[in-house]
Symmetry: C2
Subunit: 208 residues, 2 copies
Amino acid sequence: MGLRERKKERTRAELQRHALRLFRDHGYAATTVDDIAAAAEVSRSTFFRYFPTKEDVVLFDDVDPVMEGVAAELPAGTPLLEAVRLIVRGGFGSLDDEARALEEVRMELARSVPEIAAILRERNSFGVEQIAGMVSRGIGRPTDDPEVLLFAGVVVGARYAALARIHAGAASSYIDELDAMLSRLVAGIPLADEPIRAPRPDPARSRA
Amino acid sequence: MGLRERKKERTRAELQRHALRLFRDHGYAATTVDDIAAAAEVSRSTFFRYFPTKEDVVLFDDVDPVMEGVAAELPAGTPLLEAVRLIVRGGFGSLDDEARALEEVRMELARSVPEIAAILRERNSFGVEQIAGMVSRGIGRPTDDPEVLLFAGVVVGARYAALARIHAGAASSYIDELDAMLSRLVAGIPLADEPIRAPRPDPARSRA
DNA sequence: AATTCTTTTGACACTCAGTACCACTTGAGG
DNA sequence: CCTCAAGTGGTACTGAGTGTCAAAAGAATT
C-alpha cells in the first residue's frame, strides 16, 4: 500500500476522531465543520472531500461489511430470525479493538447528544430496505414481498427498541441489548395479546 | 374565534398549501423558503414564524390527536396489538376531507421526493418512545420496560415496512398497507422460522 | 372615535452547511 | 529528473436558519 493511501486513511481517521471528540465535548450543533477541520489540521474543503456531509463523519462505520461476511458463512437451514441474531452478534463480535472503541464512542454520543441519536436512528447501518435485501437473498423471495419487508421492519424495530432503552438509561451495552431484544422476538411479539385496561379519565391531554 | 386567529390559520394553511404544491412540482431541494413565502405572499420571516424549519411545513399533521381520542374509547380487555390496529385505522378514518387530502399529498410526496420520504420516516407521527408511552398507559407497565419498548419497536417497524412497500411502488394506499401489515403481525412475525438457503458465491460485493 | 397595548410583519445582518471552481503541491512512475 | 494524476487549500457562492428592530395593523379600552 502506497504512501498516498496511508495518508488518506490517516486523514480520515483523524477527522473522525477529532469530530467525535468535539461533538462529545461541545455538542453536535455547536461544533462547526471549520472547527473539525482545524482540529485535524486540514482545510474545510478537505473535510468535505472525505465526508459529503457533517453527519457522515458520525455515521462512517465498519461493521456492515463484517456482517455480510458472517452472513455468507451461516449453514443453510438456519431459521431466519436466528440467522439475524447470529449475524448481528457475529458482526459486532469480530471487530478489532479500535473499531469497537469507535463504536462505543458513537453509542455514547447517541446517548448524550440528541441530534446524533436522531441521525443514527435514521441512517445508521440498517434500514428496512437493506435488511429486506439480505433477507431476500437468504430465502429467495423478492425484496418488495410484504412479508419480507415486514420481517425487516420488525428487526429494525427491535434495534430502535434497544436504542430507546439505552437512551432511557435502562441499558448500557448496545450490542447486548439488541441481542436480548432479538432473543425475545424468537418467542413471538411480546405483549401482543395483553388485554388493555380501562382508559383513565385522561390525566393531561396535550399535543406533543 | 377572533379575526386574528382566523387570519393566522389562513396564513398557515396557505403557506403549507403552496409549499406542498411547489415541492411536488419542482422538488424539495429546488424549492427555497423564499419561493414558498413569495407564493403565499408573505415574507421569509413570516414563514419561519409559522414553521420553525423548512421540514416542518411538510410534517405538520392532524392525525395524532385524533388517534389519541380513538384510543381513549376502546373497550377494556382489547388485545394490545388489535388495539393498535383499531387506533391507527380509526385515526385515519375519521379525518375530514381536507385533512385526508393533505395526507394524500404528503404521502404522494413521500413516494416521489426522496428527501421528504426520509423526513417522514424519521419524524412523522410515531416514534418508538411515543408508542411506548401509549402502550405503557394501556397496560400499566413502565415506559422503559424492555417488552413495552420492543412491542413499540415492532409497531414502528410495521409502519416502516408499509412505507418501504409504497416507496417500492408495490402499494399505493398508505393507510391500507399499514393496516395489512398490522394484520399480518397478529399471526406472529412472518418468516421468523423460514430456513435460509445456502449462500450464493456472492454476486457483487459492494459497499452501499 | 381616539388611544393604548399586543402581535404580526418585513427588512437587514449574521452564521454555518454545502457546492463549484481553480491554482498549487505532492506522491507515483517512467 | 520530469511528467502526470491525485489530493489540497483558498475563494466565492447559494440557501437554511437565527436574531433584532422598527413599522404596521388588529384588538381592546375609554
